[in-house]
Symmetry: C2
Subunit: 249 residues, 2 copies
């Protein structure tokens, strides 16, 4: 349960994200600006709360590696997972733009985050409008993902919902090279899945069992192995993510 600010292991010039064709390239001068915008790196262990709802000290982060999730809770403890966080995702923008964070983020695996000083955000918009546009792009993409998730939670059946969730995660993970030989292990518990789908843990267990019996996935010690994306897409009726390259900061 510790987070540590480490020395800079990944200079922007060698940002590990640039290895994926999924991401758009930066111009030379953008890279050098980002390098100065970057304060350092944050290494977070599994279970660490990277950003807390209500805090206003938040920085801005880009995920370099690892899994996390974004969530909100009600006063009596009921929790809703809003979305998952994967490499390339920008987090903490709400804290930079509003006064306080309105949600929390927790690590599902060891994570490495690139940390930015939010004070300099206005600076970024002033001197690198294309990067400002990229941030808007990313915010818009997050909104689009939320739209789909809300559609799913509001209108799909439990089985469709679960199938959609793993198909969605699979595609996102695939685009950042986390899928090896057609398979992917998602480091979540069934409680996480339940809190994502808006279901109880018991019902989630029974629903996952159905997906497993159809060969779509397999439950492991610690996490879920996605075996057959196509079955998941068939069950959920989901069309899949557009394949356009996307920016990152």
């Amino acid at each position: 349960m510790k987070t540590t600010a480490a020395a800079r292991q990944f200079p922007c010039e060698k940002c590990p994200l640039q290895d994926f064709s999924h991401f758009q390239r930066h111009e030379k001068d953008e890279v050098s600006f980002l390098s100065s915008f970057k304060m350092g790196e944050l290494v977070a262990d599994t279970g660490t709360t990277v950003l807390v709802e209500g805090a206003n000290s938040a920085h801005l982060f880009t995920v370099l590696s690892g899994w996390g999730f974004r969530y909100k809770t009600l006063d009596d403890g009921r929790r809703q997972i809003l979305n998952y966080v994967l490499p390339g995702d920008l987090i903490g923008l709400q804290g930079s733009v509003m006064k306080k964070m309105q949600h929390s983020i927790e690590a599902l695996s060891p994570m490495i985050l690139c940390m930015f000083q939010r004070d300099n955000l206005a600076n970024l918009f002033r001197n690198f409008p294309a990067l400002g546009y990229d941030i808007t792009w990313l915010a818009s993409r997050e909104e689009q993902m939320l739209d789909e998730i809300l559609l799913s939670v509001g209108r799909r059946t439990a089985l469709e919902r679960a199938a959609y969730l793993f198909a969605f995660i699979f595609q996102r993970a695939q685009s950042v090279g986390m899928v090896k030989s057609g398979k992917l292990t998602v480091p979540v518990t069934q409680q996480h899945v339940a809190d994502t789908l808006g279901l109880s843990i018991v019902h989630t267990n029974k629903t996952l069992k159905k997906l497993a019996s159809r060969g779509a996935l397999r439950w492991l010690d610690r996490g879920c192995e996605v075996l057959d994306e196509q079955i998941l897409m068939d069950i959920s009726g989901w069309q899949g993510l557009p394949a356009t390259p996307r920016p990152y900061i």
Copy 2:
């Protein structure tokens, strides 16, 4: 079911939105830029689809007056209303930033929209970074609203959910001067409410009846009259919206 592009009735210098203290002021040069960015006004009747999922011709709009809603549907027709659209809201950003619109928007009342040319968006970011930042702010605010709605649909009971919905709409409407003498009429059918809450129409009817019996609201011919915001907040356990002024374009 018609939309018409009318002559310019509201020059930016006299934008009706600036009458509300809820909105941040623009600088002089920003106003004149926005005036050139603006293409015209769109008047949409009740029931008109202002933006359609899948279309890529979308412009960017700011709502000047009226009510609308944003929604997505599944192939078999199940519909989820994602959020409501009120004066000051920016819509169509996804269409500008991604290739295609991923959701539709329909008018719940006659609407007047301020229409922008999306080609010029890069221009805006280049020449008026503060406005670019404002757009990011608005995108972030939309995300924040979606987070709360998703929390509600995923984790609140039917009664809490309905109470939250109307408390939320009430506060948003209040900040743009739509609440007269403590009361507000929301121009929706129970089908709209059902599609917002992720419930069937029958159950929605029974849930609304409960709220009505507690004096929180009253159902009219064509819409819902919110009578007591406090009861709604008590039932839902919702804390309310932060009161910070916000930008608009």
